[in-house]
């Protein structure tokens, strides 16, 4: 029997008998997770109502998982009224692809997978191109092509303002010109929760419903809502090599550079990207609460293990200007 003043989050099939109290309905003020959730649902509904062809960028990571759950909530009992789009570089971890091909289908979401086949056929890879150029071809260009192909005028992304300095000034509705580019000096002022969705032909808007969430909020919400995530986030013994100060998980011998030898290490991913550019961290955390406990004691930011952010000072800002998320 549900107490009238409490909401019981539905029990996960994975952990029967476990229900989590997600705060009470304080009649005056929501607790912070409920406040963030409600704001995000408002944003998702605004964009779905106002844009002709929205799409949700689905990166398979923890933030995407949270965004997907919020979309389920926003349109319940209806289906999510827009497709998901995964930009596949073909360098993603096999566990990610497996998850991508099962979970969205389970919840009845439509999924579009886009690859820059032309660049892949021409042999694009991070080893010979370097991370900047590889990202430009397989992620940024691929994304812009997919958005143009689908004639999408709005794309939801799971980026958060706490991730990186240049993101702290990002709008919730981030305007992109007809080339998909971001101009930090020409963003529309955003007051209250009133969003300007007006566009001319070819222009688009990136919508960030998780703007105000922190990494800790995301994990607390995954815990509270029992949201399924890719197993790479949980620690276990994996084959790794140490490369340029990062722990690189090796899935097949083909990923080894000359002279490298794998070793077994208990580790996990803190954020998910492409195999060659996403480092693992040493960890024993194999449940969500343990990940949260570990996080609270962490003093390093989650994007630290992403090669692309560290190529140059302000490199995230440069990538965003070109059309990266």
């Amino acid at each position: 029997m549900t107490n009238a003043s409490e909401v019981l989050v539905r029990q996960s099939e994975l952990e029967p008998g476990r229900a989590i109290k997600m705060g009470t309905f304080a009649p005056r003020r929501l607790n912070h997770l409920r406040a963030l959730e409600s704001e995000s649902i408002h944003i998702l509904r605004e964009a779905a109502a106002e844009f002709a062809r929205p799409v949700m960028l689905y990166s398979i990571g923890k933030d995407s998982s949270v965004m997907l759950r919020l979309a389920q909530k926003a349109f319940f009992p209806g289906r999510i009224p827009f497709p998901l789009l995964h930009v596949d570089t073909s360098y993603k971890f096999p566990e990610m692809i497996e998850f991508r091909d099962s979970y969205p289908r389970q919840i009845g979401a439509e999924l579009i997978v886009h690859k820059n086949q032309e660049a892949l056929d021409a042999g694009a890879n991070p080893y010979s191109l370097g991370t900047q150029k590889c990202c430009g071809l397989l992620k940024t260009k691929s994304l812009l092509d997919a958005l143009a192909e689908g004639a999408f005028d709005a794309a939801f992304g799971g980026a958060r303002r706490d991730e990186e300095k240049s993101r702290a000034k990002e709008r919730i509705y981030s305007f992109r010109d007809s080339l998909g580019q971001w101009n930090p000096k020409n963003q529309r002022p955003e007051l209250w929760n009133i969003f300007n969705s007006r566009l001319d032909r070819g222009e688009s808007i990136r919508v960030f419903p998780l703007s105000n969430w922190t990494e800790l909020d995301v994990w607390l919400y995954i815990h509270a809502e029992q949201i399924p995530i890719v197993p790479l986030y949980f620690a276990r013994e994996r084959d790794v090599v140490f490369r340029n100060g990062s722990i690189v998980v090796i899935d097949s011998p083909a990923q080894l550079l000359p002279g490298e030898k794998t070793q077994r290490l208990k580790c996990r991913m803190r954020s998910l990207g492409c195999v060659p550019c996403t480092g693992a961290i040493r960890s024993d955390a194999d449940t969500v609460p343990q990940i949260i406990a570990e996080m609270v004691s962490f003093r390093r930011s989650e994007r630290e293990n992403r090669a692309i952010d560290h190529d140059e000072e302000g490199s995230m800002e440069l990538k965003k200007r070109e059309g990266y998320f």
């Binding site: 909401v7 019981l8 989050v9 705060g23 309905f25 009649p27 003020r29 929501l30 607790n31 912070h32 409920r34 406040a35 959730e37 409600s38 408002h42 509904r45 605004e46 779905a48 109502a49 002709a52 389920q72 909530k73 926003a74 349109f75 319940f76 009992p77 209806g78 303002r161 706490d162 240049s166 993101r167 702290a168 000034k169 930090p184 529309r188 002022p189 955003e190 007051l191 209250w192 929760n193 009133i194 969003f195 300007n196 007006r198 566009l199 001319d200 105000n212 922190t214 909020d217 607390l220 815990h223 609460p289 949260i292 406990a293 003093r299 390093r300 930011s301 000072e313 302000g314 800002e317």
Partner: protein
């Protein structure tokens, strides 16, 4: 196997988790001038509350730039864009996040220089509290006045005045008390309800997070203690239920729900509601969420409402409690912050977005402009970027609103330039305005207007009213006509009830002809009219004519008759060519 020591640690952690999932959220904005040390304060707050990661701190430590006098330039933690680091000033609002065991915080960090009133307004628009920095060596400057004014304008009732650089003021008690008295006087003048003054040194860390031993005379909370403990009452005084419909959820023929975020009040299944603009009454059948149906929902929750009766509602409509209705009007008076390089022009058509409604809007008159440094009201005929004015507006279709001071969501709007799509203004509604008051123009403006007179075309009148003229015949039913006149008038229509029975034949036709020329909707409740007179009226009004009493297919039941009149009134809605095209494109 978990050892008992680990078990205890895990229990401690469970408590931690539980607490973290139940903390509340405080959003605050910061304002200070270039040299007030605001970035240093925020950097210090993030650093001392351990919200800065080691790699971020390392990148600041090894940066080529250090504008501070200390070993670490904390301000670099917040200057996110290249241009800012190069120019050494903050350009745009930055959002920062940190948490303590007591609360989660979102900081909207707004740059404070003169030309960035718009950024301060942006930061303040979502904040519960404002931290205003005052240089302890200088006293209240014009910008302090500006910052406090903008905070109060945007509806912030909690202000923390951080008197900074106490290290340079030799930690003197009298220096602090002088500033405190001055600031309390300013806050009282602006009507800011709750004020706390804290003497700090952001550079040295005095009274930011930890209590300073160098100011033993100060017994109040540190800056962070105040942020952690300040009571957060519902910031809006409005209690009545307001629910702007964002979208309709209709997965199949069996379910129809209206999705939105509650702007004000609380609701339970069974509660009566009024739908706007139709005025129809209904009840809540259920409050639907992914997590199950709820026994109650309240302000700021996103929910989906199922109603008892099938009524026609779409995005931009509103569900409200019948007790106290919002104002329904096309004319209102608002404070406006102008955000764009192209000034606000009187008479020009802009787009307005208010709750989930978007329509056209014109500024009719600027009552005055506020000098943000002196707070003096000055006459103005336009508003430049970063200027704040008090403006009378008229919209194309009615908005449903409450004053901003009673509810932010119900009283706020943005203005969009329909040619460039830029967000050009932000408004806070003060009250609706009687048409008579709006029509008053100073005589000298009329004298100065000169030039050849351009006749007022019928289309211009219809555009201003938002509807075509029409006639509703309610012969002999004056009580019903009176009710309808009040209702239609309140939703913004130009309506006139003619009840006198002496209108017969030509006299009546002549009267309604004048009403048509004025663009008015006539409700006639006088004596019975002949068939011939009715035919002539129908012809005069291009068949925008509803004969409630005479049409045998229209039922005599009052509520049904009202519905027919409402549907008729909707059909009169004036749509100009551009909107018609826009609607087709959409």
């Amino acid at each position: 196997m978990i050892s008992s020591a680990q078990n205890t640690a895990y229990e401690g952690f469970s408590a931690f988790l539980e607490r973290n999932m139940n903390t509340d959220l405080l959003r605050f904005t910061t304002a200070g001038s270039v040299d007030d040390g605001k970035s240093t304060l925020i950097g210090r707050l993030l650093h001392d509350s351990k919200a800065v990661y080691e790699d971020q701190l390392a990148s600041v430590k090894k940066s080529r730039i250090n504008r501070s006098t200390g070993p670490v330039d904390f301000s670099l933690l917040t200057d996110g864009l290249r241009a800012e680091r190069e120019q050494g000033i903050t350009i745009d609002v930055a959002y920062r996040y940190f948490a303590t065991p007591r609360r989660k915080f979102i900081i909207a960090d707004a740059p404070g220089h003169e030309q960035y009133t718009r950024n301060m307004a942006t930061g303040a628009s979502t904040a519960d509290l404002a931290v205003i920095l005052i240089d302890g060596t200088k006293g209240l400057l014009p910008q302090t006045r500006r910052h406090a004014f903008i905070a109060s304008l945007l509806g912030i009732s909690n202000v923390l005045a951080a008197v900074n650089k106490m290290d340079l003021a030799e930690y003197r008690e009298d220096a602090f008390h002088k500033l405190q008295d001055d600031f309390l006087a300013l806050a009282a003048q602006l009507g800011i309800a709750s004020v706390q003054c804290v003497p700090i040194s952001a550079l040295e860390g005095d009274n930011v997070v930890d209590r300073s031993r160098r100011m033993p005379w100060y017994h109040g909370p540190t800056l962070l203690e105040h942020l952690e403990t300040v009571p957060l009452p519902e910031r809006d005084s409005l209690q009545s239920f307001r629910f702007p419909v964002q979208t309709v959820i209709r997965p199949d023929a069996t379910f129809r729900g209206f999705a939105g975020r509650i702007a004000s009040g609380a609701i339970h299944p069974g509660d009566p509601l009024v739908a706007l603009p139709s005025g129809r009454r209904t009840r809540v059948r259920s409050i639907v969420t992914y997590d199950g149906e709820l026994p109650q929902a309240s302000s700021s929750m996103s929910v989906t409402l199922q109603l008892d009766e099938e009524i026609d509602l779409s995005r931009g409509d509103m569900l409200v409690s019948p007790g106290r209705l919002p104002k329904v009007s096309r004319k209102f008076h608002a404070s406006v912050v102008w955000l764009h390089g192209t000034p606000l022009e009187l008479g020009r058509t802009y787009l307005v977005k208010h709750t989930a409604r978007q329509t056209k809007i014109r500024a009719l008159r600027i009552r005055h402009r506020v000098n943000v440094n002196t707070l003096a009201e000055e006459p103005a005929t336009r508003l430049e970027m970063n200027e704040i004015g008090s403006v009378d507006f008229e919209t194309h279709v009615p908005l449903f609103f409450d004053p901003y001071s009673s509810n932010r969501t119900m009283g706020s709007f943005i203005l969009i330039d329909s040619a460039t799509n830029a967000t050009v203004g932000a408004g806070m509604i003060q009250e609706s305005v009687a048409a008579v008051q709006l029509a008053e123009e100073p005589e000298n403006e009329f004298a100065a207007s000169g030039g050849p007179a351009i006749p007022v075309a019928p289309g211009e009148r219809y555009a201003r009213h938002g509807h075509f003229p029409g006639v509703v015949l309610l012969e002999g039913r004056s009580a019903l006509a009176e009710r309808l006149e009040r209702f239609l008038f309140d939703v913004g229509l130009e309506v006139l009830h003619l009840s006198r029975s002496e209108f017969f034949g030509d006299a009546f036709v002549e009267t309604v002809r004048v009403a048509r020329a004025a663009g008015v909707i006539v409700l006639y409740s006088g004596g019975a009219l002949s068939r011939e007179t009715k035919d002539r009226i129908a012809l005069e009004f291009d068949n925008r004519f509803l004969d409630v009493a005479g049409a045998p297919e229209l039922p005599f039941d009052e509520e049904q008759a009202v519905r027919h009149v409402q549907a008729f009134a909707r059909s009169l809605r004036f749509v100009d060519e551009q909107s018609r095209i826009q609607q087709k494109v959409n």
